[in-house]
């Protein structure tokens, strides 16, 4: 009984809904501030200390705004899809070992989480698609093409830590990843190349420049976001921030990891700090890349993925297996 109660509490508060909510808002602030600094601006400044409450203010405001149902919409389905997407992100957060121990964990969750993340973002796009706007249709088409090209490199990259550590559990991978590299220095070059490829692939996964085509503002207004308003927009924005936060946490935990295994409270707190720092490192890199590139065209991007990224990802996977076998 206690176990169930704990699970409910965990999924509601930490690392569930409340945690993801604030993490997502903080991530948005972090990204906006960083973008601002890169662009020689201040970014949000006056809403809370250093503008830290800006995304929260935006959220509060959007909640109060009128939510317009366009005639062509099926509002119930759209709302359902958005809420589903948001809950999937929160669900994914339960698999990530923020404290060193994930709330939910089983053998193979390292494959499940990226799958769920992909599913959630396609839910958002379906929601956009249902608004039946020519622009959202184009945005959704672009996303579809991108997702197809993205699957193979993403899965093969995620397979790398699993091969390195010999485990399919996120929790376990995050514990032993760095030690694994220290013990087998031959893996380090492979790991570095993987990080490079990951940096590119993640840009596409989280739809940031140079792969922001699905919601390219100057081309197709705001892509699938165009017709959303009010609370619906607030939730979609939140879901997008949660996507960034959870994806980055996931990537950080399996590629960098290094969490303590001890069950003492201080160790748990240290783990949270470590993983959040790593998460923000990932977001930092992603934002820097976003700031120094222009948006590619979808055909150029696909070309790039199919011709270079996918072969090199598969090659890297084979290389990793070979290295592992030799060792």
């Amino acid at each position: 009984m206690n176990h169930v109660l704990l699970l409910i509490l965990q999924s509601l508060i930490f690392p569930g809904f409340i945690f993801v909510f604030f993490l997502a808002l903080f991530v948005e602030w972090f990204e906006r501030k960083l973008t601002g600094r890169m662009e020689n601006r201040m970014g949000p400044t006056y809403t809370g200390p250093h503008g830290i409450l800006q995304p929260f203010a935006d959220f509060i405001k959007l909640l109060q705004k009128e939510t317009i149902d366009v005639v062509s919409m099926v509002p119930q389905v759209i709302d359902l899809l958005i809420v589903l997407a948001l809950s999937i992100y929160i669900f994914c957060a339960l698999f990530i070992p923020y404290t060193g121990n994930a709330v939910l964990s089983f053998r193979g969750d390292i494959i499940l989480v990226p799958l769920l993340l992909g599913l959630a973002s396609s839910f958002l796009y379906f929601a956009g698609l249902l608004t039946k706007n020519a622009l959202t249709v184009i945005g959704a088409l672009r996303l579809l093409l991108q997702v197809i090209a993205l699957d193979i490199p993403m899965i093969s990259l995620i397979a790398l830590p699993a091969i390195f550590t010999g485990s399919l559990t996120i929790e376990k991978v995050s514990h032993i990843m760095p030690y694994c590299l220290i013990k087998q220095p031959l893996l380090i070059p492979v790991w570095l190349i993987a990080l490079l490829l990951l940096a590119i692939t993640e840009q596409a996964e989280i739809e940031r420049n140079p792969f922001s085509m699905p919601h390219a503002e100057t081309e197709i207004v705001a892509g699938y976001l165009t017709e959303f308003s009010g609370a619906r927009l607030a939730l979609v924005n939140l879901a997008r921030d949660a996507q960034l936060a959870v994806t980055s946490s996931f990537v950080a935990s399996i590629f960098i990891g290094g969490l303590l295994t001890s069950n003492v409270l201080t160790a748990k707190v240290i783990n949270v700090v470590i993983l959040l720092l790593e998460t923000f490192l990932v977001i930092f890199v992603a934002t820097e890349i976003k700031c120094i590139t222009a948006r590619l065209r979808i055909d150029i991007a696909l070309d790039f993925f199919w011709k270079y990224i996918i072969p090199s990802c598969i090659g890297l996977l084979l290389l990793a297996i070979v290295v592992k076998v030799i060792i």
Binding site: R32, G36, E39, N40, R41, M42, G43, P44, T45, Y46, T47, G51, L53, Q54, F56, A57, D58, F59, I60, K61, L63, Q64, K65, E66, T67, I68, E217, V221, A222, L225, T226, E227, F228, S229, G230, L233
Partner: protein, 151 residues
Amino acid sequence: MTDVYALKKLALWGRLRSPWILHFNSGSCNACDIELLAAITPRFDVERFGIKVVPSPRHADILVVTGPVTRQAAPRLKRIYEQMPNPKYVMALGTCACSGGIFRGSYAVMGGVDKVIPVDVYVPGCPPRPEAIIDGIVKLLKKMEAETYGK
């Protein structure tokens, strides 16, 4: 009772801290438009105040209209205003948008923005400096605040 009051205060805080603007050019000569654009660039950087220029009318709180309203743009302006979710505000940017300015009396111009949609704040100037634009938004926020407490 106090809880409701606190909630209301929070709601107002959110609105005041996050005015998202949509820009519509109803026949302007571009001078106001570039000054509005200059307001989001590093020297003026309105994002500091949470002001954001959004691409879609569905996302916007404040409609910033520049230029005299030409006959051709008038129905479009009306439609965009209707697409915006409530509560919504309109800012007439530049002398032309305020009154029709130098183009008043032309057969192709309806006059100021207030001939077509209700306007909440007027920012005169040809073109207003980015500082004046920020000031206009601040005045509009004060108006929002007064409206809430007035009720």
